[in-house]
Amino acid sequence: MADTVRLRIKRQLSPDSSPFWEEFEVPMTHGMNVIACLVEIQKNPVTKDGKKTTPVAWECSCLEEVCGACTMIINGRVRQACSALVKDLEQPIVLEPMTKFPVVRDLVVDRQKMFDNLMKVKAWVPIDGTHNMGPGPKIPEPERAIHYELSKCMTCGCCLEVCPQFNEKSDFMGAQIISQVRLFNFHPSGASLKEDRLHVLMGKGGISECGNAQNCVEVCPKEIPLTHSIGEVGRQVTLQALKDWFMK
């Protein structure tokens, strides 16, 4: 008999219904990841005890850890299901939806809040105008290398899931947003919105809600220097506050 993979999945059929657990057993294949296990369950939605059930819902897109859609809690640790290989995981593999975002169904959560916050801090380079703005300025190589690291953010939400300050009691926007503010403030054209961004981060849910637990940088799957960004943007808001107080 071929090897099997045992899974324990926290399920929830609708945003308002209460969660429950179900166990599954699927055949193991070579190089299998957690997504492949979920595909097997979808093909044959029967629990370990032989009870017919609804297929487990999940999200995924790129399958190469660059989109963040399949982020979930796997054996107690938040990460992407596509890069979680079965051979590296203890069984039964426990799958839970992220806890800091509203559950849509099973392992699918609504991460809209992160995108709303990106809008709030104007995380873009303004290039639209009534006239041609010409080619963008050249960025020196050492700076570009840092930009690249920061630009790897895929808005997966791991940094927020592990942040003790990101919860329903505070409006903290979290490391992801602060790091994107650093990225776009860095950019020669993006810097034209620097003050706007810093003022948003000096408001409700801004950078001062950070408690420096530094879990974000530990779990970031793209190894983005998030705590470095928090320090840098901390310096930028300090200087901005001094400017607001003494030069305006």
Partner: protein, 207 residues
């Protein structure tokens, strides 16, 4: 364009951070140092108490540089504790434990300093209690008070030292990981030194 609600939490939080160093941190250094005179015995220690009693504008100094900063830092700190949801059992990283201990010591200190100020200062104002080496030694003879003092001293040393570490990130002094790591080590040394100085001063009353 929607109106952005006026929110001063950034400034409150920065004031909280600043007060922790100036004047509270400086006061802790002075306080640990001055109480260390106890190692030279009752006469020297009581002499220092007399010196402080005779400071001009004493009440204003105590109010503006000790009492009010402590009250603001402590009460806003409680609010900060409330906004956090620790997850140390799931994510047991070193700095995450420091985050939790910073909050636990903060809450302990709110009670400890409240009691400490009452028995050594407020009771003198209200009931004319004579605060002296003998009074302190008498109090520390009770083992409950003695161990409560040990907890308070270690909590204060930790909270101040670790607070310097986060202060340096918050204000953008140590922005990079190397600087933060170095500062982490330096503040652990400061914690150990302060704890040593504080406990030694406490033990000086026990001989």
């Amino acid at each position: 364009m929607t109106e952005v609600a006026v929110d001063n939490s950034f400034y409150y939080r920065r004031i909280h951070s600043l007060l922790g160093i100036f004047p509270i941190g400086l006061f802790i250094l002075e306080h640990f140092f001055t109480n260390s005179f106890a190692v030279h015995g009752a006469a020297v220690y009581n002499g220092k108490i007399e010196f402080f009693k005779e400071l001009p504008y004493l009440f204003a100094i105590e109010l503006l540089f000790i009492f009010l900063p402590l009250a603001i830092h402590g009460l806003y700190g409680l609010y900060i504790v409330y906004t956090g949801e620790p997850n140390n059992l799931q994510y047991g990283y070193f700095r995450n434990w420091m985050y939790l201990i910073q909050r636990v010591t903060g809450v302990i200190l709110l009670f400890f300093i409240g009691w400490h100020v009452y028995v050594t200062r407020v009771s003198a104002l209200l009931y004319g209690t004579e605060v002296s080496y003998q009074y302190m030694a008498q109090m520390f003879r009770n083992p409950v008070v003695f161990w409560w003092m040990v907890i308070g001293i270690i909590s204060a040393a930790f909270h101040f030292a670790n607070g310097i570490w986060s202060f340096c990130i918050v204000w953008g002094i140590t922005t990079g990981p190397r600087a933060q790591k170095w500062m982490g080590k330096a503040t652990i040394v400061l914690f150990l030194v302060l704890a040593f100085v504080g406990i030694r001063a406490l033990l000086a009353f026990h001989i």
